[in-house]
Amino acid sequence: MKIGHRRRFGRLGAITAALAASSLILAGCGGSGGDNGSAGSGAKASPQALDAALKKGGTITYWSWTPSAEAQVKAFTDEYPNVKVNYVNAGTGNDHYKKLQNAIKAGSGAPDVAQIEYQALPQFALPGSLVDLSAYGLDSLESDYTPSTWAAVHVGDGLYGLPQDSGPMAMFYNKDVFDKYHLTVPKTWDEYIAVAKKLHQADPTKFITDDPGDPGFATSMIWQAGGKPFTTDGKKVTINFQDDGSKKWTSVWNQLVGDGSIGQIAGWTDEWYKALGDGTIATMNIGAWMPGVFESSVPGGAGKWRVAPMPTYDGQPATAENGGSTESVLKQSKNPALAAAFVRWLNNGNGIKPFLEKGGFPATVKDLNDPSFVNKPDPYFGGQPVNQVLTAAAKSVVPGWSYLPYELYANNIFGDTVGKSYLAKSDLNAGLESWQNALVKYGNEQGFEVNK
């Protein structure tokens, strides 16, 4: 049987060798993330380049999930028939970022323009995957936007997009519930705690608000309290959840979580919408885009809700941003000038109007001050001109906030760390510390110098 034995080995050996060889070849092909180099069209970046590109025309691909994107693209191509825009809805939020990340890593397949939320922007800008738009002179548009959104589209010294919308937070409250239990609209957090206790004692099935543990909400609350847990300077990062702002927030929130007056229904679920509709949740401190959600998904609450400024720690107006996105140009783009021109049109030109028509909340100062926008009564909110409160909120955003360069990762592990404190209804500071430790470890592993 010597022959058979040799034959078996020979066959196996050949297969193994082939597999090994193919793996090695693939390993060689495997891209490493990061800068893929500019695939520019050769045109020099300058403000004039934008208008020239629009005149010349061309084709660009645009990835976005906003409801207004289709209308905007149509209006754009009507205005500039020379330009063809491939509008692609590649997914929402994390799905969209996953694909973008994959395409960047593979070196091809990324769009020319992509929607990126403010908290995700550093993650794409830092490794050099986005085009710095200041080369096209878009830096001069600062005065058109609110300071907080303008800061949000900068990473380091570079400008990586133009703000599309903003989400200044306000307090939405269920007036029917407040009337029924004789509650006054709180102006400070101490008043808010008192109202929470009163409500929950009167009816244990009702909650002052709902917070199952959400990283966006937690960071916004720390922001409102004046905390600045994240600072970034190139590769140097500091993370500190023991600063004054964080402590202010946890001292209030611990009380609410601890005595069970906060509901822990998961957001954006059927139960959540129903709870908003039937009075189980009495208030929501959330971004200015919420009216659209109420109107489309909370039919049971029509006429019952109103908007008031968010409670603050000292009674003076202060709020934070919760959500909002920009459009950015990818370095992989073969026509960056045309892409940049499209971004300018979207968020600083005629693209704003279709955006607002679909219910978007603007980041531009002009639109925030426009009386027809500000004073429009909203039938869902009992006729209240809610934009009065919301635009005022846009003007009282606490300045100086920045997100982590790896905020998406941070948000992903929030449940592992701070979420456990919510689950156990225990001290949020312990959860924040745990979050901080995990983030420091991750940052250092990925080549940042965190807290060093």
């Binding site: 058979g4 034959r7 078996r8 066959r11 196996l12 693939l26 092909c29 495997g30 891209g31 990835w63 999930w65 906003t66 409801p67 207004s68 692609v88 809805n89 590649a90 997914g91 929402t92 939020g93 799905d95 996953k98 694909k99 994959n102 395409a103 890593k105 593979a106 070196g107 091809s108 397949g109 989400g167 954006w268 059927d270 919408y273 129903k274 509709g277 971004g287 885009w289 919420m290 659209g292 959600v293 489309s296 998904s297 909370v298 039919p299 049971g300 959500g323 909002g324 679909k358 219910g359 978007g360």
Partner: protein, 310 residues
């Protein structure tokens, strides 16, 4: 069937009186009476299976606002099934139909191909004692033991290098491999195709592939049907790899498309289309039920009747 006398002891077994009467009455043990107890117990399980499905059907009859305001297992104020279906099929220029077409393509080529490859390979593993057989088994088992989530990015990069991402091949090629189908066919072939039958055919001078095609395939029919059904369902519901591979919505299969609709219905700037997600999901199941009905008569056959005498 010979009538066996009551009380007779045969080969160590005592034949019960009831059995004798049954045999005498022509009711053979191979065609037993229906059992009410068994049916009752199985009905309990059936109810358990049906509750979530009933939710799906009832929800598909509700309008968006009813969905968000009425209880799950009760009907809403309006019966909107047909308008939901119409809206699902026409939303965004009928992209749902496009997704349906894509899914059909992926399933016909992918599941069909997978069944073919798995059947041929499973048969080969079962009926031929070739060297390296055990290695094949070990390698395939080892490969599917590795969670596919971590293989997604390497596969993506590989396909991207080959220029296959964002093409139909990115979906079809991976779905051609059904290791579970391979094992199932292996097991079925072992049992359903007697070696003696093959020997008989070989003595008659037929070549191996001819034997496979004319003799074995018929016997494998119930197994093939099962593998085909599983391949159809899993390719139909294939979600993760298409999600990674495709960024052009007009190539999406139904699963990815529906998930996109579902995500659009949430978050800032939400589009209220939960009713489309649910109706779309119900519509997605319908073709699978049809396939099930078409294939199920093959389970009736497949007995190697009379070809070889033991």
């Amino acid at each position: 069937m010979t009538v066996i006398q009551e009380g007779t002891v045969t080969a160590g077994n005592v034949v019960s009186a009831r059995r004798t009467r049954k045999v005498a009455a022509g009711i053979s043990p191979l065609r037993p009476r229906k059992s009410r107890l068994l049916t009752g117990l199985m009905l309990l399980y059936l109810v358990y299976t049906l509750v979530p499905l009933v939710w799906l059907v009832i929800s598909a009859t509700k309008t968006q606002s009813d969905l968000l305001s009425t209880s799950g297992l009760q009907f809403g104020h309006d019966f909107a099934l047909f308008s939901n279906i119409k809206e699902t099929l026409t939303y965004r220029n009928g992209i749902f139909l496009r997704w349906l077409g894509n899914t059909l393509l992926y399933v016909v080529v992918g599941a069909g191909g997978a069944t073919l490859l798995a059947t041929v390979a499973g048969y080969g593993l079962a009926k031929y004692r070739f060297p390296g057989r055990r290695v094949v088994f070990a390698v395939v088992l080892g490969a599917i033991a590795i969670p596919n989530t971590a293989l997604a990015v390497p596969t993506f990069l590989m396909f991207s290098d080959m220029g296959l991402t964002n093409t139909v091949w990115a979906i079809i090629v991976p779905s051609l491999v059904s290791p579970f189908g391979l094992y199932l066919m292996w097991v079925y072939a072992e049992q359903a195709v007697p070696q003696e039958l093959l020997e008989a055919a070989r003595i008659d001078g037929a070549g191996e592939f001819r034997i496979f095609w004319t003799v074995s395939l018929r016997l494998l029919a119930p197994g093939i049907v099962t593998v085909l059904l599983f391949a159809v369902v899993s390719t139909w519901n294939n979600y993760f790899l298409p999600l990674i591979m495709l960024s052009k919505p007009n190539l999406y299969p139904l699963t990815v498309g529906l998930t996109q609709w579902s995500n659009q219905a949430q978050g800032a700037g939400a589009d209220p289309i939960y009713n489309l997600v649910i109706t779309g999901s119900l519509l997605t199941i319908v073709p699978l039920v049809v396939v099930f009905f078409l294939l199920q008569r093959f389970w009736q056959s497949g007995l190697s009747a009379g070809s070889v005498k033991q």
